[in-house]
Symmetry: C2
Subunit: 228 residues, 2 copies
């Protein structure tokens, strides 16, 4: 029996950090949504100028919850997940991990997704702590992999990893496999991936967006399992 654990790692998902909570773009955005600046998600498409002021070297990287949104709406709707073979996780740049029950229907409307993740950051779980569909814990990537998942094999996707074809990568699909995909638009992993990976691989000559990497892996494993 195969279990695939798909991790979006070092995702650029965070509440607006303290140093830019007073920036006009953040203040007006939070006010428009009837929330405090400290309680809203950083979103580059609204807060780009604030990010540029305080984090100039990361201006093209931070505040990208849309990547997690695409990732989850691709992965959770897949036949692999429907068949019960998939677990997904969103690990953040601040070493939090969002756990997601496989039966969760992620909101298709972007503003509802953002509201959901903000609720999660501010309350710890959704909809409640008794039967949560999503919950969040402070956890490093290595702890998630080595203490929570304990996989037989851990694969990290990296544009500069060893070139390999997907069919070779998943020649053997048994046991528990953890697959780590970067949840950021450019640059490198923040987490140490050397310590936890059995293989660091690249599946395509160019960089691909995170949700395309996710579906290439999902669809390959679906074919190996005969689901598709």
């Amino acid at each position: 029996m195969l279990e695939t654990h798909l991790i979006l790692a070092d995702s650029e998902v965070e509440l607006v950090p303290q140093p830019i909570q007073g920036h006009p773009s953040v203040v007006s955005y939070a006010k428009r949504r009837g929330k405090k600046p400290s309680k809203v998600l950083l979103d580059a498409s609204f807060h780009h100028s604030a990010i540029r002021v305080k984090y100039p070297s990361e201006v093209n990287r931070r505040g990208r919850p849309d990547i997690a949104y695409f990732f989850l709406n691709v992965a959770l709707e897949s036949p692999l997940n429907r068949g019960g073979y998939l677990r997904v996780y969103v690990h953040t740049r601040n070493n939090e991990v969002i756990f997601i029950s496989p039966s969760t229907r992620i909101p298709k409307a972007y503003h509802r997704f953002i509201g959901l993740i903000e609720h999660l950051f501010n309350n710890g779980n959704v909809p409640d702590s008794k039967n949560p569909l999503l919950w969040i814990e402070n956890l490093r990537l290595d702890s998630l992999v080595q203490k929570k998942i304990c996989p037989d094999r851990t694969i990290v996707l990296h544009p500069r990893g060893k070139k390999i074809r997907l069919k070779e990568l998943f020649e053997d699909v048994s046991g528990k496999i953890a697959v780590i995909i970067g949840g950021f638009p450019e640059g490198d992993y923040i987490s140490n991936i050397e310590n936890i990976s059995d293989e660091i691989v690249s599946i395509y000559p160019e960089e691909l967006v995170s949700w395309v990497v996710a579906y290439e892996i999902i669809s390959e494993i679906e074919r190996r399992l005969g689901i598709m």
Copy 2:
């Protein structure tokens, strides 16, 4: 040389129709965005109550530009498109077709995508008529297929179509293939699909969201072509 033409058909993408332009949910939404109610896209996540008043039988169907947004961000970022083997089209419930240049970078931010499509509906092309990346024409689905694409083979995906495995469906990947996927969340095609299809098929025992159907087809053809 294979060409895959992927069509999102009968997509629920339209400007707010005249009968509900005066509904409070539409008026306040348009005002907040500094636009006229007649110039904004119908969006169920904002205009659900307006849709219910005038179109009660279609309340769970209309106003779903998010489906086209996921579809385009999945398809255009794929290795199949990067390799030059893919053309994508968004056909709407009102028999318009949005043509998209394969090199287009679709906005990742949802509100920017909505603004782009509104510009397209109100102006006919983006960014301009000389070198458009996106343009829109009044065109029925059958005319798109039979007059514009002229494929060797036309496949329609339908949950009640003939059950088939993807690997059998694409045993032969040569020539020009048109693949039609429904761009609506429930119900049936509005367009007549019998007249234009060589095969009406179902690839999975349950209904799948449009963008998952898209990536299953894309990834299958990528494997047949040896791209992945």
